[in-house]
Amino acid sequence: MQAFLNDPMAMILLTGALVATSGALLGTFLVLQRQSMLSDAISHSIVFGIVVVWLLTHAQSGPLQIAGAALTGVLTVFLTEMVARTRRVKRDAAIGLVFPALFAAGVLLLNLYARDIHIDSHTVLLGEIGFVWLDTMPLAGLEIPQAVVWMTVATLVNLGFVLACYKELKLASFDWQLAAALGLAPTLMFYLLLGLTSVTAVAAFDAVGAVLFIAFVIVPPATAYLLTDRLSLMLLLAVLVGVASTLCGYPLAVRLDVSIGGTMASMTGVFLVLAFVLSPRYGVLGHWLNRRVKYSG
């Protein structure tokens, strides 16, 4: 077991697969609610939360950081909704107003007070999945990479959330008004979804960074959307596409000697293009063939 945990390649792939799984579980509902860009906003603005928590407690990771990130994520969404509700600014512009402000504040604080620490803006944006196996923590007599521990927790929490609230999330995504009229609290579901996205983004931070994490939240669900007409299958396919991207991305990165996180994220794009062209029902090719059959017959 320890040999497995000491194997850099195994740990990199495991971390990648966990990032992909946890991201796809939440991303599926964000994509269906047309809120995917909120995950972009959140992943930037949590930098602010991370710096503030570090300044207050000097904790670089752990439960305090996670709580701080979740709060910042929810704060981002809350501020966005508040600005949008004034009706002086459209919602997309409201997102664009709020998260750069928080992100900028985070970067400035980082520059002013935290120049020498591990959190720098490069790590924040890109992370380095290649080094996750170096940073371990003892757990149950084993030395386990921190990223693996935190990503496992995030994945289990997200999975639990989606399984427990599957019907609530489904209804909130499909028909917000009915969900509200039935007392199934779609607004609460929305904030929980985004709170967990923030938490997962923090956990995924060291591994792939804030920006690449978005790729795992949005692209695999968007790919799955092209492949199926069932929500449950869409969730499953999104997870599979995400995991496949990490598995294909790693050897490619080694071969080309480029960023592992970058290649993994790029592979999600490759799968999206494949689905776009080849999907039986919604693909470009299928569409073209159907039309030919229709008109020649």
Binding site: K167, E168, F174, D175, L178, A180, A181, D229, L233
Partner: protein, 266 residues
């Protein structure tokens, strides 16, 4: 436990002194509405009269500025299970990855309560409702393959499985074919005959008298309300629609129930 006091329990819907405003602009101004149980009521009025807002406020989707609402004597929060809602078709995304029978089962989610997954019983209820609206053959179809009229029938089936006493429908006849419109009206009348109260935001003045037996004419304030023969008069309609009303029958003064007014599209 303290016994709850019901306010106006003999009315299906009781609204008193209700004002709803968006950004300080009143959409509904100090309205009183009373609808008895077992009627099929139309809510009509010009664009911007607050018809949809009225329904959304009753359902708790919009917060009122003042006033109170009772459904069979209960405040809306305690009456969630007594009320079913059919929103405008355009309010949902019909490309959502789900099937017809799944959408109908959503009507049972309120009864299921939190965290419980729908099962065989919910599916059976959904299938029964689908056959009642003549859509059982479509149960396993993806919802983006439906026509407008079929979408409306699915929404109606979803409202039926809610087992509600009061059904609110927001423009259910908008953009559906004549066959569907007839089928929907027949179903709603059947539900009314079972003792349910049907409240419909309606836009086609020509069919009001054929379909409904109760009428609320709204234009920010309540212009008139009551049984159709008393309320459906040219005078009331002119009060609500102003110059935008055209009387088809030139000989009619508009005061007799024979007048057929029509909203002029401008």
């Amino acid at each position: 436990m303290k016994r709850e006091k019901r306010h106006e329990p003999d009315l299906a819907l009781h609204i008193e002194d209700l004002t709803v405003a968006y950004e300080g602009k009143p959409v509904l101004w100090d309205i009183d509405v009373n609808i008895p149980p077992g009627v099929m009521a139309a809510v009509i009025g010009p664009n911007g009269a607050g018809k949809s807002t009225l329904i959304k406020t009753v359902l708790g989707l919009v917060k009122p500025t003042a006033g109170h609402i009772c459904i069979h004597g209960y405040p809306p929060r305690q009456a969630l299970k007594r009320v079913a809602y059919v929103p405008q078709r355009s309010s949902v995304d019909w490309d959502f990855p789900t099937t017809v029978v799944d959408v109908v089962m959503m009507g049972r989610y309120g009864h299921l309560g939190w965290f419980r997954w729908p099962g065989r019983r919910e599916r059976r209820r959904a299938m029964d409702a689908l056959s009642a609206v003549g859509m059982e053959a479509f149960a396993k179809r993806q919802i983006n393959q439906l026509s407008g009229g079929q979408q409306q029938r699915v929404f109606l089936a979803r409202a039926m499985v809610q087992d509600a006493d009061v059904l609110f429908l927001d423009e259910p006849m908008a953009g559906v074919d004549a066959t569907t419109e007839k089928a929907v009206v027949a179903l709603l009348q059947e539900l009314r005959d079972q003792g349910k109260t049907i409240i419909v935001v309606h836009h086609d003045l020509q069919t009001v008298r054929d379909y409904f037996d109760w009428l609320v004419i709204l234009n920010v304030r309540v212009v008139a309300q009551g049984p159709i023969p008393e309320v459906y008069t040219g005078e009331n309609l002119r009060k609500a629609y102003g110059g935008r009303i055209a009387l088809l029958d030139p000989d009619s003064s508009g005061e007799t129930p024979d007048a057929v007014p029509r909203e002029v599209v401008n």
